[in-house]
Structures are given as structure tokens and as C-alpha cells.
């Protein structure tokens, strides 16, 4: 307990000291927004919940700060790519094909004479959108199915467990080549749909196991002894105590979905030109990598950094949420 009030004092003092401590101010603000924060009115200060403990851990973790800043930047450029670019990613000039870095075009030009810098920035939108939406879809669908199966057990549970085994047996890239090659729509939705289709069993298994662990706790029995219904037990008692592993795995999976989108686009079954995606650019740049390596390196580097940032974030979140590591 003694650490918590000091901590906040520090943050508040930081804000008082002047505008230079912007980060401190935003931290104090976010702390207030943690689920149980504002309820703390007791004489001993704010209560510590698992979430506020985790947040305290995260704020001190350099891995979280670095990956968080990278992700914030990525989200920013996917929402407003024109804020840091001055051209259209589709404005290409074949005369400048494969040219290197020059004023106004820091990353040079690719094989079609398009500006690599502009295309790399615009490619972030696809990656972030696919990653976030696929993770949301997988997370919601997988944890709902797995959670319900774990909670109710019985025949549906066995059926679902066998079904997840079947889906685990499908090779991701081969499955993508087969399934997505028949899709004609050139949007991110078929790609996201494919990821949800193949991704849900992973989350479903984790949610199922986590719910089964949580439902054996006496507080769940206590709630049913009070006459609480299934929905109350699931939402109030099981879900809050079972969600942490799902969040961790989903965060790490987000990075792999971004990589998978690039892989599928590279193979020509994900997004296709004129869509802008790192995978498309990597694919287009690979034949002439010896003449114009910059056209390959910039989108590949952006992809690697993005995937790494999400995986690092997932790692940091796991460390913070796992009480055994504390």
C-alpha cells in the first residue's frame, strides 16, 4: 500500500511543476481511468486491483514504453497519413523507377516509380487495420465460443474441442492460398475473415481453459448459492477473472496477423494493387532487389518494427498481468 499514494503524488507534482512534464500528466489521468481507480474513497487511498497493479508495473517497464510509443505513432500515421506525407501513394512516375534517395523523396522510388516513403507510410493503415480488426474478431468470436464451452461443458464442449483440433490442422499459408485465391473482392475483409476463421481456435482454447479454472473458485459457487443466474456469474465473476490470458495472447497474435497479411499479400492472395500494403510492396520490390534494395528494405523494416512492437507489448502485458512473475 505505501507505494501507491507516493506514486500519485509524484505524478501530480510532476504536472504542477510545469508543462514540460506532459507525460506525467497523461499518466496520472490514465491512472484515474483504470477500472477501479475512482471508487477508492477509503482512508487508505485508492484500492489496488489487479488492473491498477498491472498498470503500475507497465508504466515502469521500458519495453512497454518503447513498444507503446511505436504503436501510438503507427496508429497516428494510419489515421492521418497525409500529416507526414505530401504525395499520393498512387502518384507514380515510371521515369524515376528504381531511383535512390533524393530531396523530397527520402526513401527513393520503387520499380514503378512510386515514392517509397509515401507508400510505406500509407501501408501502415492496412497493417494496423488488418491487425486490429482480425484480433478483435478472433478475440470476440474465440473467447465467446471457448468461454461458453468451458462454462457449460458437456457435449458442446467436446464438440468444440474436436473442432478446434481440426482447425489447428489446417496449414495457415496453404489454407490462405486455397481459400483466398477464389475471392475476387480486393478489400481487407476477406483477409480478416480468413484470419478469424483460422485464428479463433487458439483464443477459444485459452478462453476455455481460463474459464474452467475460474469457475471452480468458491466465489462462483457462492454466487450460484445466492441464486445468481448464468449471465451474472459469467459477466461478473468469471469473465473478469478469466480475461487476462486472452488479452495477452490476443496482443501477441496481433503482431502475427500483421505479418500474415503481408505474407498473403506477398503471395498475391491477400490485397492486390492498387491497394497499398507492405506485403504488396515487398513482393513488387523483390525481383529487382539487387538494383534497388531500398524499395524492399523500407517496407520490410516497417513491417518488422511493427510486428516486434506488438509482440513486445504482448510480452509486457503478460508480465504485468501474471501475478506469479511479480
Amino acid at each position: 500500500m505505501p507505494e501507491q499514494p507516493n506514486d500519485q503524488e509524484g505524478a501530480i507534482a510532476g504536472t504542477g511543476a510545469g508543462g514540460a512534464m506532459d507525460l506525467g500528466a497523461s499518466e496520472a489521468e490514465t491512472l484515474e481511468k483504470t477500472p477501479y481507480g475512482p471508487e477508492g474513497t477509503g482512508p487508505a487511498g485508492k484500492p489496488r486491483s489487479l488492473w491498477s497493479d498491472a498498470w503500475r508495473d507497465l508504466r515502469r517497464n521500458p519495453v512497454f514504453i518503447i513498444s507503446g510509443l511505436i504503436i501510438l505513432f503507427l496508429v497516428f500515421i494510419s489515421l492521418w497519413p497525409s500529416a507526414i506525407t505530401w504525395e499520393s501513394p498512387l502518384q507514380c512516375d515510371l521515369a524515376k523507377a528504381q531511383e535512390g534517395s533524393q530531396p523530397g523523396h527520402p526513401f527513393g522510388f520503387d520499380g514503378q516509380g512510386c515514392d517509397v516513403y509515401t507508400r510505406t507510410v500509407y501501408g501502415a493503415r492496412t497493417s494496423v487495420a488488418v491487425g486490429v480488426l482480425a484480433t478483435l474478431g478472433v478475440g470476440l468470436f474465440g473467447s465467446a465460443l471457448g468461454g461458453l464451452a468451458g462454462f457449460f461443458g458437456g457435449g458442446w464442449d467436446s464438440l468444440l474441442s474436436r473442432l478446434t483440433d481440426i482447425f489447428f490442422a489446417i496449414p495457415v499459408v496453404l489454407g490462405g492460398l486455397v481459400l483466398l485465391s477464389v475471392v475476387t473482392s480486393n478489400t481487407i475483409w476477406p483477409v480478416i475473415g480468413f484470419m478469424v476463421l483460422l485464428g479463433w481456435p487458439q483464443i477459444s482454447r485459452i478462453a476455455r481453459g481460463s474459464v474452467i479454472t475460474a469457475k471452480q473458485n468458491d466465489y462462483v459457487h457462492a454466487a450460484s448459492a445466492l441464486g445468481a443466474g448464468h449471465s451474472r456469474i459469467l459477466l461478473r465473476h468469471i469473465a473478469p477473472n478469466a480475461v487476462a490470458p486472452v488479452i495477452v495472447v490476443a496482443t501477441i497474435a496481433l503482431g502475427t496477423y500483421i505479418a500474415l497479411e503481408a505474407t498473403l499479400s506477398y503471395l498475391g492472395v491477400g490485397l492486390k494493387p492498387p491497394r497499398v500494403s507492405w506485403g504488396i510492396d515487398i513482393s513488387a520490390a523483390s525481383p529487382y532487389v539487387r538494383n534497388a534494395p531500398h524499395a524492399l528494405l523500407w517496407p520490410s523494416g516497417a513491417l518488422a518494427v511493427t510486428v516486434l512492437a506488438f509482440i513486445m507489448l504482448g510480452d509486457a502485458v503478460r508480465d504485468a498481468l501474471d501475478p506469479k512473475l511479480r
Partner: protein, 374 residues
């Protein structure tokens, strides 16, 4: 020995010392199926956790349920609170059969039967504040006490000896004893008539146990709540309960008022249990009590012994014990309401046994006195 049988079991509970019956349990049975086989799983057996338990709890009465680990005490408690579905038998609460009642049918009864759990760490949701934990029973059952739920919660916290200011704290900020008090407050929130306390103090430090037992006793006396107090600690049960039932391997082997069980037990198993209680004889004048040391473990409830279930560890067992199951009846020489399930009961006294019973041959050889009657 069958001339000892005077009363059939069914009439037993109609006891003059027992007040109006609140809860009546007849032949309560819970078998957990064991599945095996390949490729198609089928039932290959059953763990007979509870196998025909008869029990009554009067209004405002506190009944202790004792027995070794794994004898089905906790399962009995969970069957009565309907956390588990009984395999057979009947549970009657205030004249209403609740054995297989659905959640809706149970709703009016739920608020009257509450439970206190053994583990104060797992019985409180770590993500909820103390206030919302204690408020939950009122929310679920749609009860709006005068002055609001929050006021009631603060009153309850005060009643169980916690600071009402701790309303917004989380369970992990409390010690084990305090957490158990929170559990007690939650059980009291609906002003129940019956509380099933499943080993409420066995997870606590000895110094804290006394506090919690005293709290429960105050609650019981002041609010007139009936208790089914499940425990393996005989001293705690003696302190707390007016009537005591002794369970062995899924069955009640002896039941009676506190004095009968503790001072005039008839069943060999009760004798053995009591002889295991450490005793401090301060003035040194008390007669040395018998010592009975049983050998081995409780037999597997998957295939319990035929006839009397205690016969495999009993020093008085004869052929009849294996072939015929002893009914739970009043024996001649026992008091009213004191029922025993034994063909060859012991004398109703704890003093005066000539020799100790030592069932373990190795131990017997060690002590070298050749004591015991096998």
C-alpha cells in the same frame, strides 16, 4: 444384539429437545460417475461420496457435522445448498421439497439458506470490492433494505467486526480472518434462517479460529440462525453445536446431542475420533482416557465395504458386520435422540476401558504391551 434396536430410524428425529424442524434430509445420496473405456466412454463406476444421509436441523439450532477428510461432509453441505444435484434422497426445507427444485423454484428459499466457505481466499471474487461482494446477495434477490443497500452493507461490516470504511477495498487487502468475516457478512446479508458453514475456520490460524467461531456463535444466538456446521475439528464443533452428527464414508454413523456424542458415544468410530482429541488434564485427577489408534485410511468410496462401512477398521467387527448394514437407530441405554448405526456398540462412556485399542500391528509391536483386541 438386535434386541438393542428399539426405534426405527424414521422416528428418530422426532425428539423432544429438538425444536421445530427447519431442514430435513432423508437418504441423501450423491454418486459421482466415473467414465472410462475406449472409444466410447461409458460409466464404469461411481464415487459414492454421500450415500444415504439422514439429518435434521431445527429452527435456530446448530448442528455439527464431523468426520475424517473425504467422508462426504462438504458434499452433504453443497447438496443441501443445492450447489450440486443430489442423486437420490430428499431435502425438505420448511416443509418444502427442494431436492430437485429449479433455480426459479429455489429463488424464495435461496435467501433463507446461505453458505460460508472453507477457503477465505477463493470464496471472495478478487475483482470486486468488499461492498459489492456483500451487496450481491441483495441485488440478486432484488431486496432493497430500509436506508439502502450501502447502509445495510456498512451495518453488516460493523456486525462482523470490520471497519465500515473498508467498503471500497478489495479482498486481497485483508487477512484470512478478516476475509472470512467478509464471507460471514455476505452470508448474513439476506437475514437467512439456515447457514451451512463448510469448515469455516479450518483454513485459519488457531488464534483467528476462536475469533471467527465466537463471531458465528454470537450471530447464531442473537439472530437465531440455524447452523449446519461442517468441521473436522471436534473441539470447535463441541464449542459450537448443540447437536452433532458423525459421518464416515458417506454415511451418518452416529447422531445425538452434544453431551451424548462427546461423553456417551456408542459407535466405535466416534470413540476412535474422540480418543484422538488431545486432552489437557490440568489437575491430574481425571481418569486416563482410552486411546484408540486406527490403522490405514478410509476405504475407497468407489467400492465401499459391504455391510457396515467401518468394519474394515473396527476392532469389534464380526461376520454380521460384513453381511448386514446396521441401521441408524436409538440403542438401549442411549438417550432420546441419540442414534447409532452399529451392531456391536461400545458402552456409553469414555472412561474405564481396561486397555488401549491399537489397531496398527507395527505400532502394537513397538509398544510391546500386546494391547488391543483384534
Amino acid at each position: 444384539m438386535s434386541d438393542n434396536l428399539t426405534l426405527p430410524a424414521q422416528q428418530g428425529p422426532a425428539d423432544t429437545t429438538t425444536p421445530e424442524t427447519l431442514l430435513e434430509v432423508e437418504g441423501l445420496t450423491k454418486h459421482f460417475p466415473i467414465y472410462g473405456g475406449f472409444p466410447i466412454k461409458r460409466k464404469v463406476g461411481a464415487v459414492q461420496a454421500v450415500d444415504g444421509v439422514d439429518l435434521t436441523v431445527g429452527v435456530g439450532e446448530s448442528v455439527g457435522l464431523v468426520g475424517e477428510s473425504g467422508c462426504g461432509k462438504s458434499t452433504t453441505g453443497r447438496l443441501i445448498t443445492r450447489l450440486m444435484e443430489p442423486t437420490a434422497g430428499r431435502i425438505t426445507y420448511a416443509g418444502q421439497d427442494i431436492t430437485h427444485a429449479s433455480r426459479k423454484q429455489l429463488a424464495p428459499v435461496r435467501s433463507e439458506i446461505q453458505m460460508i466457505f472453507q477457503d477465505p481466499y477463493s470464496s471472495l471474487n478478487p475483482r470486486q470490492t468488499v461492498g459489492s461482494i456483500i451487496k450481491a446477495p441483495m441485488e440478486v434477490n432484488g431486496i432493497e433494505p430500509a436506508g439502502g443497500r450501502e447502509k445495510k452493507v456498512r451495518e453488516l461490516l460493523e456486525l462482523v467486526g470490520l471497519n465500515p470504511e473498508h467498503y471500497n477495498r478489495f479482498p486481497h487487502e485483508f487477512s484470512g480472518g478478516q476475509r472470512q468475516r467478509i464471507g460471514v457478512a455476505r452470508a448474513l446479508a439476506l437475514e437467512p434462517k439456515l447457514i451451512v458453514a463448510d469448515e469455516p475456520v479450518s483454513a485459519l490460524d488457531v488464534s483467528i479460529q476462536a475469533q471467527v467461531v465466537n463471531l458465528l456463535q454470537e450471530v447464531q444466538k442473537e439472530l437465531g440462525i440455524a447452523f449446519l456446521f461442517i468441521a473436522h475439528d471436534l473441539a470447535v464443533v463441541r464449542h459450537f453445536s448443540q447437536r452433532v452428527a458423525v459421518m464416515y464414508l458417506g454415511k451418518v454413523v452416529e447422531v445425538g446431542d452434544r453431551d451424548s456424542i462427546y461423553n456417551h458415544p456408542r459407535h466405535p468410530y466416534t470413540h476412535a475420533l474422540l480418543s484422538a482429541v488431545p486432552e489437557i488434564d490440568l489437575d491430574g485427577e481425571g481418569e486416563a482416557r482410552e486411546r484408540i489408534r486406527l490403522t490405514g485410511d478410509v476405504p475407497s468410496p468407489i467400492s465401499p465395504p459391504s455391510g457396515c462401512r467401518f468394519r474394515t477398521r473396527c476392532w469389534k467387527a464380526q461376520d454380521k458386520c460384513a453381511s448386514e448394514e446396521p441401521p441408524l437407530v436409538k440403542l438401549s441405554g442411549s438417550r432420546e435422540g441419540h442414534l447409532t448405526a452399529c451392531h456391536f456398540p461400545e458402552e456409553p462412556t469414555l472412561q474405564g476401558r481396561a486397555q488401549d485399542v491399537v489397531m496398527d500391528p507395527a505400532l502394537k509391536a513397538l509398544e510391546g504391551d500386546g494391547a488391543g483386541k483384534d
